[in-house]
């Protein structure tokens, strides 16, 4: 029961963070200010939860606690898409596109690319997940190179538009997108929880899991589809955040002392949301800063990544 209690404590921490964020220094007009804060809060919670849960599922399927879904090139593809759109439509043209259309198009594009990659590389079975990861890394480098080249051809003003879109930001979240994102992310999270018992078994490795009757290859495809949905929606909503998921999943592993994904997935989701909400509260309310959160979270996530790599025992 200790792990369940710890998950409860993490949930309480999230509730507390949400309370602080919504109510700290609240002045009239209350309704208007609460509405503004709530919109940003929902985005923070959705993105944090999606990143944490997606990374936890991804790490179990790949069998490596150092990797994040970003490693297979999601971030690079998103930046490449932004660059391509600005090149084709111009900065002003891009701004005139209806935001739900842009959001759905980007989400579909990211998910389509991820599923195509997974399908292509895993159609003969999920025995070679390292090949998938390496291909993703190489594709990411290729897309980053292409995006970098294309950005050099842009006007300075258009380049600034791409630069802004390439860093995750919660300051200008479009409220009309939140219902779409919330429904998609909740469905994907429910799917991840449905797969939780099978993920417990998959954590033993492909061959032991298969000998215990798990359709491992099918589980990998289902899990990666959920990961693709979670990452695609959150990236299309606010931009890429490569290391937030790693931070949340690593902390969840440390704090919730259990192997059970029915606890680990919610813990990573709650921690991802709590990190963003608490971070935004500190930066926005206490320090009066507006745009440093994503950078600081990525910096902290990068440090955790380095610590995990250095701490890892050689096998």
């Amino acid at each position: 029961m200790r792990a369940e209690r710890r998950l409860g404590a993490l949930a309480a921490l999230l509730v507390l963070s949400v309370g602080f964020y919504l109510l700290w220094n609240l002045r009239a007009p209350f309704g208007f200010i609460l509405g503004l804060r709530a919109e940003r809060l929902v985005a923070l919670v959705l993105v944090g939860a999606a990143s944490g849960a997606a990374t936890m599922v991804f790490q179990t399927l790949i069998g490596n606690r150092l990797l994040t879904p970003g490693i297979v090139g999601f971030d690079a593809l998103y930046v490449f898409l932004q660059t391509l759109l600005v090149m084709l439509l111009g900065g002003a043209g891009l701004a005139q596109l209806p935001s739900p259309l842009l959001f759905l198009g980007e989400t579909a594009c990211l998910m389509g690319a991820a599923l195509a990659l997974f399908g292509l590389l895993l159609r003969r079975g999920a025995g070679d997940l390292i090949r998938l990861v390496l291909t993703g890394v190489i594709l990411g480098v290729l897309l980053r190179g292409l995006a970098g080249f294309a950005q050099r051809l842009l006007e300075p003003s258009e380049f600034a538009v791409v630069q802004q879109a390439s860093v995750a930001s919660f300051n200008a979240v479009d409220g009309t997108l939140l219902p779409f994102a919330a429904v998609a992310l909740l469905l994907a999270l429910a799917g991840a929880l449905w797969l939780a018992p099978a993920l417990d078994l998959a954590a033993l490795g492909r061959i032991p899991a298969r000998t215990l009757g798990l359709g491992h290859d099918r589980l990998v495809m289902q899990g990666l589809a959920l990961v693709a949905a979670l990452v695609a929606v959150s990236t299309a909503l606010v931009g890429p955040m490569a290391f937030l998921g790693l931070l949340a999943a690593s902390l969840a592993q440390q704090l919730v002392t259990s192997h059970r994904h029915v606890l680990l997935i919610p813990a990573a989701a709650v921690l991802g949301a709590a990190i963003l909400v608490l971070g935004q509260f500190v930066f926005e309310r206490l320090l009066g800063l507006q745009s440093a959160l994503a950078i600081v979270v990525e910096f902290a996530g990068g440090l955790v990544f380095l610590a995990l790599v250095l701490k890892r025992r050689p096998r």
Partner: protein, 250 residues
């Protein structure tokens, strides 16, 4: 019964299994022995349905093992691979509980819990049930994995070198328990390198060399010093010390 018909497998143009056929009646301990590279582990993995042969077929209790899904296969046989890995924070009870997965598919019922407790008791693991598998010694850990395979409650248990890296005390402990299991319930098929252990505990043997079966049958009537010498290409002798069979390498 396990029936193997004309099983063949080639890798890089070389035969790993060459026209292997055999029949194993239910129950008892069957040891697969032979020199390194003889195809022992490959045969075991083919029996378990994890490696598909290029020709031939394996039937377990009448079911073609390569034509059924993992879920159905896991109800017919359990397989313990070499050096199975554990997950951080996984307790002994949880790992043994994984053995019941083919029966409950992630939603265990009272029968599953009862059978897990029975497996823990049978392998003297109740005092360790709450401990993390990663914190156990090699011998204790191997006992836990064997208990997991036992909890699967299949007609057959296949084990690939279950005694590797175990000292004689733990090796003996594991073999005594497997012998008990095989006397009352499932057939146990295991790859062994320690021939004295095989001589002491196996009812039957499959002697493999260069992907072929050199001899197979009841241990007592099949295994001779001459056969072992031909099998390993080195002089070997079956002897008896204090009433126990041993195999000596000259």
């Amino acid at each position: 019964m396990i029936e193997v018909e004309s099983l063949s497998l080639h890798r890089a143009g070389l035969p790993v299994l060459a026209d292997v056929s055999l029949r194993l009646p239910n129950g008892g301990v069957t040891a697969i022995i032979g020199p390194n590279g003889a195809g022992k582990s490959t045969l075991l993995h083919c029996l378990a349905g994890l490696i598909a042969p290029q020709s031939g077929r394996v039937r377990v209790e009448g079911v073609d093992i390569h034509r059924v899904r993992e879920a159905e296969r896991a109800l017919l046989l359990s397989l313990l691979t070499q050096n199975p890995g554990a997950v951080p924070r996984l307790s002994v009870r949880d790992l043994v509980g994984f053995g019941r997965w083919p029966h409950h598919r992630g939603r265990p019922g009272p029968t599953d819990h009862a059978l897990v407790e029975a497996a823990l008791e049978r392998f003297d693991l109740l005092p360790l049930a709450g401990r993390e598998v990663e914190a156990l010694s090699g011998g204790q850990r191997q006992r836990v994995f064997v208990a997991m395979a036992f909890a699967q409650a299949t007609p057959w248990m296949l084990l690939d070198e279950p005694l590797s890296a175990l000292d004689p005390k733990f090796a003996r402990d594991i073999m005594e328990r497997l012998r008990d299991v095989a006397t009352a319930g499932p057939g146990v098929v295991l790859v062994l390198h320690d021939l004295s252990v095989a001589a002491r505990y196996a009812d039957r043997c499959i002697c493999m060399k260069q992907g072929k079966i050199l001899a197979a049958g009841a241990w007592q009537s099949t295994v001779t010093s001459d056969l072992l010498t031909r099998l390993y290409d080195t002089p070997m002798r079956l002897a008896e010390v204090d009433g126990q069979p041993v195999v000596l390498s000259a």
